[in-house]
Every structure is written in C-alpha cells, then in structure tokens.
Amino acid sequence: MSTSSEQHATLPDDVALHARPAATFVREASQFGGEIVVAANGKRANAKSILEVLALGATGGTELTLTASGDDATAAVDRLVALVPRLD
C-alpha cells in the first residue's frame, strides 16, 4: 500500500546544504525506495539528486520541507527529519 508523508526540519544555523552535508543527506535519502522531495526557498529538489539538492541553495537555519511517497514514505521522512538538524 502506498502512503505519503510530509514533515519539516531546520538546518543547523551554521550548516548550509553545501556539497558535503548535501551528499550525506542524499546518501541517506537514497536508502529508501519511494520518491522523496525536499523543498526550501520556494524550490523543490529530488532528495536523491545531489545536484538538485545543491541547487536549493539552502543556507544555515533554513527550514526544509520533506515529502515522500511509497511504502517506506513515513520511515524515509522520519529518518531525514532526524538527520537534517545533525548535519555538519
């Protein structure tokens, strides 16, 4: 059964979603099967695409909206929401 899930998470004040934190985020998102979208600053990105995630230009303290669909949607969003505030 397909489900969908949406939650918000805020980047640490001193951590922008630049190359290394974005790669950590994308690696985590890639463990899940369904589609995951991360939105910030009015832009949307495939959470499994490093280039799209970097193009969000999310700076420290930015609130991200995470939306997932598919069987593991809830687990995916839970995991990413827990990860985002811990990125460094």
Binding site: S49, I50, A55
Partner: protein, 142 residues
C-alpha cells in the same frame, strides 16, 4: 603522478574513471569527489599525454579502463576532444565482458563527476550512476 587517489578494488562499490587533458584537473577532481562522496568509491584519475604535457595517453586510458572493468565495474567521465576519442579507441580494444562492466557517461566533467560519486557511494549500479551524471546537463545551479 598518482593515478589512484582513493582506495580501490573489491569493496563492492562501482568506481569512477576520470579522463582529462590535464593531470591537475583529473587529480583535483578526484580529490574533490572523494571528499564529497567519502572514501568508499574507487576513483582513478587519468590526465595528460605520455610525456606529461597536456593531452591524453591512449595506453594509459586503456589500462585504466581494463583495470576498472576487472573490479566491480566503473563509470567513465571525460572532459572533451581527444579525451573522448581516446576512451572510444580504448573501448574498441576491450572484450565484450569488459565493456559490460563499463558505462561511458555523456556528461559535464566536474558536475557529472560529483553527481556520479555521490550516487556511487550509495551502492548504485553503473547505469544508475551514469544517469545521475547525465542529470548534470540539465540541472540549473541557480
């Protein structure tokens, strides 16, 4: 000039082969990709002509592709011109089994390599990695 810049071999991750006219570009890019993607993805940087000048060394490219094909497989990224030609020439020398484990990515070198390295670090297949590299042609930066 070191060709292998990260741990290589049989760790289960598909590798990358980077081919540039410039050894500095190939090695610097390998260093950047390894830092972004972590140490698990084997990355081989091939740059420069046989005499060390800017250019490509067909023999070195062939050796690198052959070695990469012997492992878990690899995705090959190139800058342009003779880098592309030397990869194509090397493909003609490889066996069907070797060719099966290599995917040549038609992508911008820097952005494509970063996308490929991060995707490879998730344990993806050569086809998935090359698809991530090709996205670099269409994803805007701003």
């Amino acid at each position: 000039m070191a060709d292998v810049t990260t741990e290589g071999g049989a760790n289960g991750f598909v590798g990358l082969v980077l081919v540039s006219h410039s050894p500095s570009i190939a090695e610097g890019l390998a260093e950047l990709a390894a830092q972004v993607a972590g140490p698990s993805v084997p990355i081989v940087a091939i740059g420069g002509a046989a005499d060390g000048s800017l250019g490509t060394d067909g023999g070195k490219v062939l050796d690198a592709l052959r070695k990469a094909a012997a492992g878990q497989g690899a995705v090959v990224l190139m800058d342009l011109g003779s880098s592309v030609l030397s990869v194509r020439a090397a493909q003609a020398e490889l066996s069907a089994e070797e060719l099966e484990r290599l995917v040549i990515a038609d992508a911008p070198l820097v952005e494509g390599t970063i996308a490929a390295a991060v995707t490879a670090s998730t344990g993806a297949s050569p086809q998935e990695i090359a698809a991530a590299a090709r996205e670099a042609r269409s994803v805007n930066k701003l």
